[in-house]
């Protein structure tokens, strides 16, 4: 079950450099583990913005929430979700 998820990040400017680096390292590790498991299918940077557009492929709403809520950057993110379905023009259907 696919979802498009846009995440806009705003890390507080007063966060100490070391704390910020640790946070970003944990975020990257978290994201890559889910990419490897196949649930975080794609991730792109939105050009010129501290934001990404991602495609998730998960078993349920509950699982998608669990993943997003667990993001190390979650407290510093605004998240927007678009549930997706198969498009009738998709050649994968043919």
């Amino acid at each position: 079950m696919k979802f498009a998820v846009r995440m806009d990040v705003a890390i507080p400017q007063e966060m100490a450099e070391q704390a910020k680096n640790d946070l970003l390292a944990r975020e990257k590790e978290y994201s890559q583990a889910l990419q490897r498991s196949g649930e975080w299918q794609s991730i792109w940077r939105c050009v010129g913005e501290y934001a990404n557009l991602s495609i998730f492929d998960v078993g349920s709403n509950e699982r998608l929430h669990e993943i997003l809520w667990g993001l190390p950057l979650f407290p510093h993110m605004r998240i927007e979700i678009t549930p997706l379905a198969t498009h009738p023009s998709d050649i994968a259907l043919a």
Copy 2:
């Protein structure tokens, strides 16, 4: 070069059934040719909306415009574009 494109469709309610069916058949054919050539990388239906979210992979802005302007449904669409770049957490980089 990747772009996320959201297309919202609003076909005029007074369009005749036959004209509409022809239009939609041409749209499907147009979309599938570009999917096969690899420029229209993904297309998903946005759940509960007459809209799709698509990923394009094209050589230039000019080419993306040429493709979108040529959509049979273009006169009945509202289109929103997000230019994409590689995300540093993408495992494809590793």
Copy 3:
């Protein structure tokens, strides 16, 4: 899997009375069949608006889209979807 769905209806004012009545009868029948099957869990009128707020309980995004796209009033609706998950304070968890 739960979704909150808000549907705003705008029936064209030029639609003939009989066509409109038929359409609304079909909409009611369609909705009630899904309420009886348990997928359309709740439906409320939004006070003072030609709109409803509904809770759906379905197996997948695909199924939710199939239901909404099939609504007799779909061509006259604007639909907004909020995917839902269990809330940790829900007493049903206790």
Copy 4:
């Protein structure tokens, strides 16, 4: 008398861990007491957001305000209310 209430939470990032845990424990207890009494009929997490969608069933606007104003998290919430009425397609009417 039913109301849909969406609550978006933004706890200040500088709040001490202990104060935050106490606050959240009081919020949960407050919510569950009202769920048990039947006035807070449903509560769902909005996927990927620090937000909930709830259905209240109360005797008056005054009572709804009293409940919301009393939420331990109220000073950290943005709240949006939709008054609800019975929908003519609701099978509970049949």
Copy 5:
């Protein structure tokens, strides 16, 4: 139970003069009957707009919806509702 209700009116420009006059006469009569019964407590014109701001005092959400849905101008209105409660500074409380 009080509600502030703002109604914005947009009568189709193609409506015949006589039909429009009849409609407006019925609207006025309908409004004035409810003003006399006490449920439609106040009505003001919003300066420079085809709109009014009204205060209703009704027994329930159901009753408010019944009143608004029954407005002869309802199909030509956009309606926005704010549920009201007693304000602690109101001198009527003293």
Copy 6:
């Protein structure tokens, strides 16, 4: 001359308890004096929000501004004004 005024309040969370209580006491006293003089005709709490909807009846724009600018809570408010006029359906005109 009537005006609808909506005031949304956001008191800084770091304000000391005593300062806040003094401020709120002065606000209440200020509001009630104007209610007694008849210029602040009505005040209601907007349900679930730290906001009020008020009706003022003043001699001029200048006077309305003087009143609002003088509110003890003014520096912590966002204010929205709708100038009102008599509505032709108002039974007070009959």
Copy 7:
């Protein structure tokens, strides 16, 4: 008593040329009579838009509404009003 009023005009494209010319002539005459009487103090075209920004100086909200409602173009306008007061830095006060 001053008000800033922005008027955006959208004349239906199907209006006959003669009817449109008559309407615009009546609008001009109406506006100029009020400019001469001093109530319509200033009128400017908003560059690149079918819109004007005007300053009115009237005795009351009622009078402002009467003027605006009477505009020949009123049914084709969207109007936005900002009540104005004397600014403490205005040199006219010195």
Copy 8:
């Protein structure tokens, strides 16, 4: 060449009283010098808001920017500009 300029002011609440008074005195002096020279043609307070609507009459965009950028309150303002032209109904043209 005329421009309508709306300035919304938000002075940081932590600014010391003396610093704030100095800033406001400089702002007033700056504004009044430009009013006397004729470039700042009008200034009105927006009722109930810490905002003004002003009309400038300057020789160029460059000059307008120079004036606004030099405002002592500029770092605390949000500014919105509407370029103006002569309106064909303006009686000054007759």
Copy 9:
């Protein structure tokens, strides 16, 4: 004096093919004459939209309005204007 101007076009779908072609030919001729004279400095298509972003270099607001008002497509456009000034980092200043 520079202005950025964004023009969004919406030609009525019922316009006859010949009338539309004539209109577009006149628009092109009008635009190109002004490009040659140097007042319409740049024009770009906004990718995927029936819209352009243009830079104008004109002597006054009046002249900019005259140009835009005279566009053959003006009745079918929504226009948004940003007045521009020299940027202090512009290397043309060095």
Copy 10:
């Protein structure tokens, strides 16, 4: 490949004067190097705002992102991007 980029700047008011001057000097140097290399084709100040409108001419989305992400002021900017294509009325095509 052209892009219009609008950058709105909000430097934290608590930043020390020296740090701010250094930052702005680095920003200017960075911008001017890219202007000289031809990738940052134009930069204008938006009148009355701490903002600029720029035209970039780059080889890819990746390169545009690299440039913008590297801006010394990037952490204090909100950036909005419009991909551009050749306009059929552009005289450069003739």
